[in-house]
Subunit: 411 residues, 4 copies
């Protein structure tokens, strides 16, 4: 991507977020900024807040922060917890680890559950599978005194390409008869993978703008449950910017207590309209089909996928593990330089061992085939022996499996 | 402003921020989002960080937050203070009051100094004048035990149109030989009014994107001093999202630890280029001239200006006090409905008593004359008796006082 | 207007076309170019052609040319006339004169009727009044052999600010029982002034994109009558690019025989939607009100309006005559340099004697007051003695005469 | 391409023009329209006219028309010829045939030379090879009386993908010692294929905006020779809109006699800057490399290329001939519906027999591989038996043959 581009064609941004932003949204965010206290703004605010509820599948309030996803992580903790509270977090990958670190910085006492050990190729077992609800249940049963105030899990682990079963986590908490809140990071899951805030009994869902919502980064969210709201009234970690109370009050008329991110809200309104016009089921099916095509390509190359449990393959991204001795970042660099294609780097414990192909946002079959072609050429140029052509297999997949047409709303 | 506009001409956004955003910036923020870990991004980051130093007039680091100005207020306190710390804050208006309330919510012990009493027309004295450095000096001298950890003042009080003398506050602290940090909110002052972070000995300057920088809201700043950075290492209010340490580390190569607000950074790069091309001195002179023209108009109407001390008239906005019995918000509404002109409302203790004319951002003489014309017509339609035509007097001012041409850099 | 603008506010483009283009249209023309032979294009084409009929108030075809208005002048002649044909044209100003010259270049024999003489201030009488239908009738009656094949008049003369009575011209032709075609240039009249192709019996209406349609220049139009179409089949001036026959055939399915101006057609679709949403009656009333306000201002200055017949004042622009000895172009230059306001120059026989204020396109009351303020300041700076403040009088006009609200379609 | 697009990714516009327009150009054309008589405009005009000379490789004037390429065809003839003049035109394909038809409509006497016969698969021989300079020389030698006033050939025949040798045509005319003018249509050749107006002795070069210049359609060009200009002074086809004389006069200061296509000129300025920054040699090499990769793909499919002479393969587009019995337009429709990829249809004598892949404009290796993937899938879905994978072979080509980096200007 050259910001002052020559006639070099579109950059292929196939990282797992920020996702490629549709033109319609880029245009929306460049509308003139308006008075955030004027009448037009209130109408915009109410419309955006209502649309977000449909996306989170909740009847309860959704908080919008002018902040990145990290801010929304902090907000979820700051509103529901008190200094020194114990938490149960589950290590699914790099982003779970970052959230754990953030909890530590806030003066909380997070316990970090994980599947132990590494596998045959030296990758941590816990980074190749989803949240283990049975381990959570077991741990909560052992917490007779209910010291643990919240269970924190990542829905779609962006660093690995694993989409955990959140309903199972809720069942585990209920089975343990434990009162802990359930806080879920669905930053990269929302509006790509199936996500049901109310039905799954989530207390705080955390999300961001730059993944399935297809916006640039800069807005993030907390979807709340009544229990979370009630808890926030007594929790006493210091909170001001993140405090839900004043925001909830202002939001009733479509405004915010501090200056909102007006132009990104224009984009959010456009994104919500696009997603709801298409229909959330169609949106999710679209990402699943893309993911299946990409995985077919990776399999054809004879390379391993980071996620080893097909039940929890991510519809958002696919982690591609390099053969021993191949530096994944060198491969990525070659692909970027030669084919103007950006891929996600390996993060934390898998740095250099894998790269990530994002298949979300403003894409289509040909975009993904182009991305696979860029990977295939780059892998070969990097000396990686491939079992076959991933592009060829993915073409067969996409040609033989047309995307389900969007259903009319009344059907 | 109609978001789906008919051929109704440009909306006149004359609130004291968000300011009218130049097309060049709106276009910049709609460029395709890029990989915030890729090589192009690092170059963008370094360029923006360097430019910000020139605007804050500092050689020390400037922190960029994907957050509104309220977040940057919180960040300044969270990085430099510990639970229960005492602060000295000065009430210049509504935004000083909001910052004070935020400090309370964070568990700090802010003392709120103010000029006492109300004046002849019932407006609070402290909301019509600047920070009183002598009162601060007096209070600090009384704090023999140095309990007060920071002095917090607002540079340009957006709710009143008063630009305080920050150098005088620094002199007061020094005169009192007090070690308190000096934290200054220049959210609406920066890049409109003269502001010198290093020369004035400010420890943390807080600013935002949507005023003199002419961006949409969504980015805010902390400019630091070495003393502030040193203090942040031991201050122990919980901090994660706002924590300077990781940001300073990442910023060395032009990146951020969490996802930055990429598209607003495009806009920021454009804004910095525009301001530096024009020259900061010219930018400030431009706002001063506009303000003088607008005040000439208000005087001609025979209406009072909120700021009663000509030494501290704001170059950014002018507060216009309504005669007794006139509801300023009704006047504003008439003006908005009839002439598509947005003005700032009276906030807090002056609600309904005054409105505010912003004269910042993407404006020119004719824009301001149009705004004065809208006010003049709306005041008359609202039954406010005017002594004369403000438009007429402002035309004479603008015609007789051409704007100083931008000087070539080498001159 | 600086193409790489500093924060200098919007340029005030108050020439009588190109008119200020609404953002909505500028955004539309920057959508990606599509295949002009693909299915989406046909739908666009049909929609645009249908909308144009509503604007021209005709049930007959409208031809769209990728060409400026001059091209559409040539097209009207080339399709309906044969080498050496006699025409009757009427001199209303510079554009009538240019069209006359074009007819000469095409090898036609145009006769140029005009009011004779100059008036007290030395300006040509014919350039201050509309088409004189009685002179046309008289001339046609004298043409017993029907040598004259077409009568050519300008509806809204952009060089003077006079809007002629086209219905009267039609009555004159009919009264003379003359078979000549009626060709009318409404380049700057359409979608500002009342215009009725069918009702007024016009055979070819010529218009362009950059005036009332609020587009950039580059598209122009011929609206046809059945008689014009029939005539075109036998007329034998050479024609290819301008030939109606192939275009009419292709247009049936929404396409064009040669490559159409795709991106300007996007803008045209947006413009038609805006105008039809507002309602053509409201559009015309809006321009009339603006014109009345501007004329009130000019009268208050004590300056003469170019058009001396109030029955034919143009709703699109107002010509302002300078006192003897004042170079109108020097005044315009001062206004442009000091206040970033563009005005129309005096053209042809009135060069240096007057300037023109456009009041069309994306404007509103404050825009026009700003334009008047720029003129008033510039006139004074140029040493022109003014009788009073035009801005003051125009403010009174606009304040006391609210714009009629757009009526709901069903009312 | 959906004008109100869902998150369906970018449309792949791989027709041989309009080419995919770079964002930078789309943004340029949406800048506010300025006064085409103001000082900023003159600077824009001069800059664009100077840049065009570099692209046409000429020191002589280039005329810019607000018109499509068809208009520029007409202009070239209208300025240089008189009623009834004889021309020699050469049939290379559909666009040569359209130009021939246009000459007939203008009342000229064009003779249409062609290679006779059809080949084994029933396609016309002349539509698979370039201009035959020997046939032209022979015909001119036979024209002892010099009745033929101009030789008209198409440089890059957009309907077939053949780029003729223009220098050879010039040599043929010279060898025949014939004074005829050489008029060349390089509408789709300019700024993709090598083109040298002066060096090749072309008298009028005709081009358009929507191909190698990467603009939307709406502007077209005549590049002139001194001989062409001299001829235009006596040629007496009627001409007004197209007449060079007034345009040449106005252009001296950067203006036009009639209203220019301002916003497309903004785009043209941007396009010229992009092309000249890259360097014309690099631009041409880029298109040649793309074309070679695409042809490698077509060969791998075992399909015939429309052009049968490798010396004159077009760098701009490749015609792909369908096996007997396959309806090329049905294949195109399938590809468009399933993969949102637009291809060029077969035109005129090859309708239904072939489709055309454009490889010009804002593209890159991955874009072209995506286009080939769309074709490959669509061909298979249409039941066309392929010999192998064109995508696979093209990947090998693009991977093994990196694009030459742009050379620094000074090297």
């Amino acid at each position: 991507m050259k910001l002052n581009n020559h006639a070099s064609g579109h950059h292929f941004l196939q990282i797992p977020g920020p996702s490629p932003v549709p033109d319609r949204i880029l245009r929306a965010i460049s509308l003139p900024t308006i008075d955030h206290r004027g009448p037009e703004f209130g109408a915009l605010g109410l419309s955006v807040l209502a649309g977000l509820q449909l996306i989170f599948q909740t009847r309860h309030p959704v908080i919008v922060y002018p902040a990145s996803g990290t801010g929304a992580w902090e907000a979820a903790l700051a509103n529901t917890l008190s200094p020194g509270d114990a938490l149960l977090m589950f290590e699914t990958g790099h982003f779970a680890a970052l959230w754990h670190k953030l909890a530590l910085r806030l003066g909380l006492r997070p316990e970090f559950l994980a599947l132990p050990g590494t596998d045959a190729v030296g990758l941590p077992n816990g980074w190749r599978r989803g949240v283990q609800a049975d381990l959570i249940e077991e741990r909560l049963r052992a917490d007779a005194g209910h010291q643990i105030k919240a269970v924190c899990v990542v829905h779609n682990e962006t660093s690995t390409g694993v989409t955990s079963d959140i309903a199972a986590v809720r069942r585990a908490i209920d089975a343990a008869k434990h009162p802990a809140l359930l806080l879920v990071d669905t930053i990269s899951g929302l509006a790509c993978a199936d996500y049901r805030h109310d039905q799954w009994g989530v207390d705080v869902s955390i999300s961001g703008s730059q993944k399935g919502l297809m916006l640039p980064p800069g807005i993030s969210f907390n979807a709340l449950s009544p229990k979370a709201i009630a808890t926030s009234r007594t929790a006493h970690l210091p909170k001001a910017y993140w405090a839900w109370d004043e925001i909830l009050e202002s939001n009733k008329t479509g405004y915010w207590p501090s200056t909102p991110n007006t132009n990104l809200l224009y984009g959010l309104a456009a994104a919500l309209q696009m997603l709801l016009e298409e229909g959330l089921d169609n949106v999710i099916a679209r990402h699943q089909r893309w993911a299946e095509g990409v995985r077919a390509g990776v399999h054809a190359w004879g390379l391993e996928i980071q996620c080893t449990d097909p039940q929890v393959y991510s519809p958002v991204l696919t982690g591609v593990v390099m053969p021993a001795g191949v530096d994944a970042d060198r491969v990525r660099r070659t692909i970027h330089e030669r084919f103007d294609l950006s891929l996600g780097t390996g993060l934390g414990k898998v740095k250099g061992r894998m790269f990530r192909i994002g298949h979300l946002g403003d894409s289509n079959d040909l975009t993904l085939l182009a991305a696979l072609a860029g990977c295939e050429m780059g892998l070969k140029l990097s000396g990686v022996a491939l079992a076959g052509s991933g592009v060829q297999v993915a073409m067969e997949f996409f040609a033989s499996r047309p995307q389900r047409a969007a259903m009319p709303a009344a059907a």
